[in-house]
Structures are given as structure tokens and as C-alpha cells.
């Protein structure tokens, strides 16, 4: 995709978000942003994952729901499975294989089990998920109105639907060999959450700066007080690190799918994205609320639209502790004689070797 088309897409998205339409999701869908990862021949824009993440940073900056991220991945998977007519697909990236039983009867596949806290699990048209690891991984797509699916609705702190689906003898719309395994899907979803988070952190910063310049106490804007400046500057360092980590993660997805990078499950940038943005999110929320004083603690003020998303998203798709442990264990399990540094920064040759193995 050319630089120009990319910028146009970005501009178009920005315009939509800035307009704050009441039916934001419908407008995004109409403009095809949910399908943006699909090739043009399939109604998409054929953007890279890095470009998609940039759109998600924008979405996060405008407190758009996480639905855009989940629908993007949903469309990508549903398309891979060859299922038509999915107008609102979502993804159950935290599906645990042990909670799912996939069986084959004489009339075809049947699925039983539980998909916990699926984004828009009640309202979606299709839900995609992956079970199994490595080359045995299978991609399953269910039609939401298939018989045997019962829904317990739930919500995250920001009110985004996180519905638990219980599956009883459900006939899936498709079961195919998965393009990525369950852990990789979780990693991919975590990276997209990181992009949303980086955007929401940046907006918390922008709001804090704006308010600090407006709110007057002791005869001057509170932004003139050094204590306030120092806090906001620290928030800025977190925003910068979060964006850098989220961008690195999204580039890791492209490099992997293009066959030049490591598998997501072995990629440090992929695991780091959620760890770093999750940590930044906590710091950002605390500082932003401090700057706003009581007004920021009200339902009426918009700050909570960002902070509640951050407090939710940081625990979705694996929190900092989960990914830190995962990453740490992987590193510690390596060659015992090797230094940490050389495990973290492998030689280029080793990278291309791994990439050759991952290209599927």
C-alpha cells in the first residue's frame, strides 16, 4: 500500500472519530474500517498490521470501543475460514483449549465448552477462535445464531460487552487448519489492545495538559506549578514508551506473517507490547486523575472514558504479569550458558533461520 493511500485512510478515520457520530460503529463499518486488513478484492484495504494498529491508536485516542480491533481480527479469521456473510465477527482470543472440546461425528464437527468474556459475544454475528498449538491448531468459526449457544452477558469497566458463551453440541460454521495457534492469536490480540491503549494514554496526556493550562488555583494555571509539570512530564514518558512498544509489536506481526520475523510466540517485541503499555496505563491513569482533581472523578467528565478503558484493556488478553512470566520463562529456558543479552538480541542469522521455519 502506498504512503498516500495510508495517509488517506488515516485522515478518513481521524475525520470520523473527530465527528463523534452517535452511531460510530455503523459509520466505521460503512467505511470498511472493520475489514481493513482484508485484501481489496474482498472489500478490504489490504493494510498491514502496523497500519491497522495505527488506526487502533486513533480509536484509542477517541475512546472508541475495542470492537474495532476484535472485528478486524474477526474478519481476518472468518475470511481465512471461508465463511461468508459475517457482518459483525468477533474473536475469542482467550479461549482455553482445555475448556473446549471439538469432536467429529458422522454428520461433521461438534463443539462443546466455554468461551469466556468474548467481546460483543452476545451481539456479534460470528465468533472465531483457535484451539490447539503448533501445526495442530484449528480455527473454529461459529455462527452466533447456531443452536446450542447460550450467553451470559458481562461487561468490562468501560461497559464494553464481555459475554461468556457456553457451547453445547454446536455445529460450527467452519473448522480449518489455523493460520496461527491459540497462543499466537492471544499474542496478536494483546498487541492490538496495546495499540488501543497507547492511543488512550496519549489522550489522557493531552487532556491533562489542556486542563493544567486552564484550571487556575492560587492565581495561576496549575500547569505552572512544578509538581504538576513533573507529573505530566512523567506521564508523557509513559505515553512515548507505550506507543513505541505497541508499534514494535504490530511490526512484529507483519514481519512474522511476511515470513521474515520470528513467530509471535517467540518474538520479544510481541510480548513486550502488552507488558509495557499495561504498565504505562496504570501510571497514566493515576496521574491524569490526579491532575483533574474532583472533576475528573465525575461521571460527567470525559476522562473516565479513557481511564476505564485502560484499566480494562490492560487486564484483557493477558496482563503484564502474564506476559512477563511467559517471556521470562521462555528466556530462562534457553541455553543455560547463554547470556541474557544474547538471548534477547540474537544474531541476525538465527533470526532468518527461525523465520524460514515459521513461514506457513
Amino acid at each position: 500500500m502506498s504512503e498516500e493511500t495510508r495517509d488517506m485512510l488515516h485522515e478518513a478515520a481521524l475525520r470520523i472519530f473527530a465527528d463523534k457520530p452517535k452511531n460510530l460503529w455503523a459509520v466505521l463499518q460503512e467505511s470498511g474500517f472493520d475489514k481493513t486488513l482484508l485484501p481489496e478484492s474482498k472489500g478490504g484495504a489490504g493494510v498491514s498490521w502496523a497500519d491497522a494498529s495505527r488506526l487502533l491508536i486513533l480509536a484509542g485516542e477517541h475512546a472508541a470501543d475495542a470492537l474495532l480491533a476484535d472485528a478486524m481480527v474477526g474478519h481476518w479469521l472468518v475470511d481465512h475460514a471461508g465463511v461468508d456473510g459475517a457482518t459483525l465477527p468477533t474473536v475469542a482470543s482467550s479461549a482455553h483449549s482445555e475448556q473446549i472440546r471439538l469432536g467429529r461425528t458422522r454428520d461433521g464437527w461438534r463443539v462443546d465448552g466455554k468461551l469466556p468474556r468474548v467481546p460483543w459475544g452476545g451481539a456479534c454475528t460470528h465468533v472465531a477462535f483457535v484451539v490447539g498449538s503448533g501445526t495442530a491448531a484449528q480455527l473454529i468459526v461459529l455462527s452466533r445464531d447456531a443452536a446450542g449457544i447460550s450467553v451470559t452477558s458481562g461487561r468490562n469497566l468501560a461497559g464494553e460487552p464481555r459475554d461468556t458463551l457456553v457451547l453445547e453440541n454446536v455445529v460450527p460454521a467452519a473448522v480449518v487448519a489455523a493460520p496461527l495457534d491459540a497462543r499466537e492469536l492471544l499474542s496478536l490480540s494483546a498487541i492490538l489492545r496495546s495499540a488501543l491503549m497507547a492511543g488512550a494514554i496519549e489522550r489522557s496526556l493531552a487532556l491533562a495538559v489542556e486542563y493544567a493550562n486552564l484550571r487556575v488555583q492560587f492565581g495561576r494555571p496549575i500547569g505552572k506549578f512544578q509538581a504538576v509539570q513533573q507529573n505530566i512530564a512523567f506521564l508523557a514518558t509513559q505515553a512515548a514508551a507505550a506507543r513505541a512498544a505497541a508499534e514494535a509489536g504490530s511490526e512484529a506481526i507483519d514481519e512474522w506473517l511476511d515470513g521474515v520475523g520470528e513467530p509471535l510466540s517467540r518474538n520479544i517485541a510481541a510480548a513486550s507490547a502488552k507488558i509495557r503499555t499495561g504498565e504505562a496505563a496504570g501510571q497514566a491513569c493515576a496521574i491524569a486523575h490526579q491532575v483533574f482533581g474532583a472533576i475528573g472523578f465525575t461521571e460527567e467528565h470525559e476522562l473516565h472514558r479513557f481511564t476505564k478503558r485502560l484499566w480494562s484493556w490492560r487486564d484483557e488478553c493477558g496482563n503484564e504479569a502474564f506476559w512477563s512470566r511467559e517471556l521470562g520463562e521462555r528466556i530462562l529456558a534457553g541455553d543455560p550458558g547463554q547470556s541474557l543479552w544474547r538471548a534477547v538480541v540474537p544474531m541476525a542469522k538465527a533470526i532468518s533461520g527461525a523465520a524460514a521455519g515459521a513461514a506457513r
Binding site: 496519549e202 496526556l205 495538559v209 493544567a212 493550562n213 500547569g223 505552572k224 512544578q226 504538576v228 509539570q229 513533573q230 505530566i232 512530564a233 512523567f234 508523557a236 514518558t237 505515553a239 512515548a240 514508551a241 506507543r243 513505541a244 512498544a245 508499534e247 514494535a248 511490526e251 520479544i268 517485541a269 510480548a271 513486550s272 507488558i275 509495557r276 504498565e279 503484564e320 504479569a321 506476559w323 512477563s324 512470566r325 511467559e326 517471556l327 521470562g328 520463562e329 528466556i331 530462562l332 543455560p336 547470556s339 541474557l340 543479552w341 544474547r342 534477547v344 538480541v345 544474531m347 541476525a348 542469522k349
Partner: protein, 379 residues
């Protein structure tokens, strides 16, 4: 793109090839080993060996003895050296900031005479900014250079000057005109041979027991006209661009990697979930900082102003370094002991004792946050 975004760094194929060469070189180095020292050792023999390989001043133009490489390649070599605590302290300042300063602002004579020696690993620099009464408030420096026939006469004192007692030159910032309304005006930079009569140096021992920084006195020191670097009165602007180099490198977040390595070695003997989590988190920080640093290198290569980015990175990087002992000590219950035979205990002691300096040297974190606040429109 906004102010806080760090452009995507360039992946350097040449750099990656260099990485394996540097590793091979390090693995075969039989000179001094400085082990877990928090800050790299001062070892002219090592510096000259690196110079011979062409790994100092890699970004300098070839006609000044440099390698004509980009900053991305330089970063690869530097991070590999820092990762093993290679003793690079002798040439580090000259290669990081004084060389680039001379190349950018120096006279042709200064460039020809000095830059090739820096690149050879034979010429070391110290930075004369801070004074007893001027720390964060750098523009208040009082060391004065007064114009005299054929040159300048300097009087005053610098303090905290790292390695002043063992370097060849100082880049001196001092007043050449009285402070006016614009406090940053009237400052100039000079190239000072440390053997110039009237320059005296007294070492100051730090809390870790190192003989590293110094007090440097100037008593009627005569500097000839050609000691001036760049333009008289432009010292502040020149220093600011130099500080971008000082603040944006991996030396601002890797100085405590030695302790992390020892920690990981010890952890492999007594694994725990908490230990794994700690390693994962540190690696996530490290890899984000690396990316940001490589990104600044790309900005500098494109001649973009990266002063804000450097301030952000140094604040993040030095807070990360400072946090390392605090994080590690709660995972493996080891009492820190300087010089202990247990590598982890010694390394832990080392980083605990050096940690306070991370967020002070090169601009305190408060000062850096002031720069960031200003760029956000808060001051």
C-alpha cells in the same frame, strides 16, 4: 504522527553483520575484564584495540579517520560492548559527544588534528560543564574566559568532571561575555589540553569508592584563539545539540545490565515464577528502550531535532537502571557485598551504590521533565 512518536528505526544489515564480529572479538579478548562493574572500565589498551578495528567514531567521515557508517551501525557496536561491560570508558565520551561536536562546530584544524586520534582510540575527552555553584542551572556558570592578545585567559573551576585526571582534552563551557537578560547568551566552548599550565585536577571519590570524577581549577590559563570551538557566544546552542548525543544512547539504560546478567545466572539455579516474571518485565522495558534509542539515531541521521526525544529516553532509561537493584533484590534474597566472590552479590552491591547517579548525571530527571513539560506547552 505526534511529538511523542518515535519513528520506526532502520534495521541495519551491515550492523547485524558487525554484531557477530563484535561478539567474536569480545569472546576472544584476553585483556582486562571488568566483570560486573556497573560502569565500564577505563582501559586505553582496549580502546586502541577497538580503534584498530574501526569501531570508534564509526559515524565520523572517513577522511577524519571514521568508518563512514551510520549511527545505526554505531549503536550495534556500542550496545554489544555495553552488554558485556567492556572497558570503553576511556574513549566513550570523546566518541559519543566530543568528536561529533568538533565535526559539527570545530575548526578544520581541530577536526584534522583531533578527530582521527579519537577514532584511533588514543584521544580521550572530559566534559567541563558543572561548577560548584552551577549544576542544573548550567547557564549560571561563572568560569570566565577574557579576550587577550592572541587568545583567551581563563579563570574558574569545574566540578564532577568525569575522568578529568586521565583524559587528554576537556570541552570547556564558560562565559565569554557577562550574563545579560538572555542568560544563555555569552557562553562559549573551548578545547582545552589538560596539560595546559594553570589547569589543575583534584579527584573526588564517590560513594562506591571509585576515583572517577574530579574538581578542575583554571588559574590564568592561556588558551590561544584557535581553542575556541564554533562561534563565540553560541556555546549554549552547541551544548544543547551535544547533550542530545549524551542523552540518547544505550549507555543511558544499559549500565546495570551486568547485575541483571548475574541475577539471571543465579536464577537459573533457583527458578521461580516471580523470577521469570521479573526477567520478562525487564526485557520488555529493555527492548522498548532499545527501539526508542535506535529511533533517535534515525532522527539524528535525518538531521531532525531530537532534543525532546533524548530527554524522554534518558528519563525512561535512567529510571529503568535505577529500578534494577530495587527489583532484583526482592526476588533473590542475597545481601549485597562489594567484591564478594558470589558474582550476584558483588554485582548487586555495585548497582545499589551507583544507582543514585543515574538520574543525576547528564541532567537530573527533574530537569529533563522540565524540558518535556515545556515542549508540551506547560511552562
Amino acid at each position: 504522527m505526534n511529538k511523542l512518536s518515535f519513528p520506526r528505526p532502520r534495521q541495519s544489515e551491515i550492523g547485524e553483520r558487525l554484531r557477530s564480529e563484535v561478539r567474536e572479538f569480545i569472546d576472544g579478548w584476553h585483556g582486562n575484564r571488568h566483570g560486573a562493574a556497573a560502569f565500564s572500565g577505563f582501559d586505553p589498551e582496549f580502546s586502541e584495540a577497538l580503534g584498530k578495528r574501526g569501531w570508534i567514531g564509526m559515524g565520523f567521515p572517513k577522511r577524519y579517520g571514521g568508518g563512514g557508517y551510520g549511527l545505526a551501525e554505531r549503536l550495534v557496536v556500542l550496545e554489544e560492548l555495553l552488554a558485556v561491560r567492556a572497558p570503553i570508558f576511556a574513549h566513550a565520551v570523546a566518541e559519543r559527544q566530543s568528536g561529533p561536536l568538533l565535526l559539527r562546530f570545530g575548526s578544520e584544524r581541530q577536526r584534522e588534528e583531533i578527530v582521527p586520534r579519537i577514532a584511533a582510540g588514543k584521544c580521550y575527552f572530559c566534559i567541563g560543564l558543572s561548577e560548584p555553584d552551577s549544576g542544573s542551572d548550567l547557564a549560571s556558570v561563572r568560569t570566565r574566559a577574557i579576550k587577550v592578545d592572541g587568545g583567551w585567559r581563563v579563570n574558574g573551576a569545574k566540578i564532577w568532571t568525569s575522568s578529568a585526571h586521565r583524559t587528554h582534552y576537556m570541552v570547556l563551557l564558560c562565559r565569554t561575555a557577562p550574563a545579560s537578560e538572555v542568560r544563555q547568551a555569552g557562553l562559549s566552548q573551548f578545547l582545552v589540553d589538560m596539560k595546559t599550565p594553570g589547569v589543575t585536577c583534584r579527584s573526588i571519590v564517590n560513594i562506591a569508592g571509585d576515583d572517577d570524577f574530579n574538581e578542575v581549577h583554571f588559574q590564568d590559563v592561556f588558551l590561544s584563539d584557535d581553542a575556541l570551538i564554533g562561534v563565540e557566544g553560541q556555546g549554549w546552542q552547541q551544548v544543547t545539540s551535544e547533550l542530545t548525543f549524551e542523552r540518547s544512547g544505550p549507555d543511558r539504560f544499559m549500565s546495570h545490565m551486568g547485575a541483571v546478567e548475574e541475577f539471571v545466572t543465579a536464577l537459573k539455579q533457583q527458578p521461580s515464577a516471580e523470577g521469570a516474571r521479573t526477567v520478562g518485565r525487564l526485557v520488555a522495558h529493555l527492548s522498548t528502550l532499545r527501539r526508542m534509542s535506535r529511533s533517535i539515531a534515525a532522527m539524528l541521521t535525518a538531521e531532525q531535532d531530537a532534543a525532546l526525544h533524548a530527554a524522554l529516553l534518558k528519563d525512561l532509561g535512567t529510571c529503568f537502571e535505577q529500578e534494577i537493584p530495587e527489583t532484583l533484590r526482592l526476588v533473590l534474597p542475597t545481601e549485597p557485598e562489594p567484591g564478594a566472590s558470589d558474582g550476584y552479590s558483588a554485582a548487586l552491591a555495585n548497582v545499589i551504590l551507583h544507582a543514585p547517579s543515574c538520574t543525576i548525571r547528564g541532567g537530573t530527571k527533574e530537569v529533563l521533565r522540565g524540558i518535556v513539560a515545556k515542549s508540551l506547552g506547560l511552562r
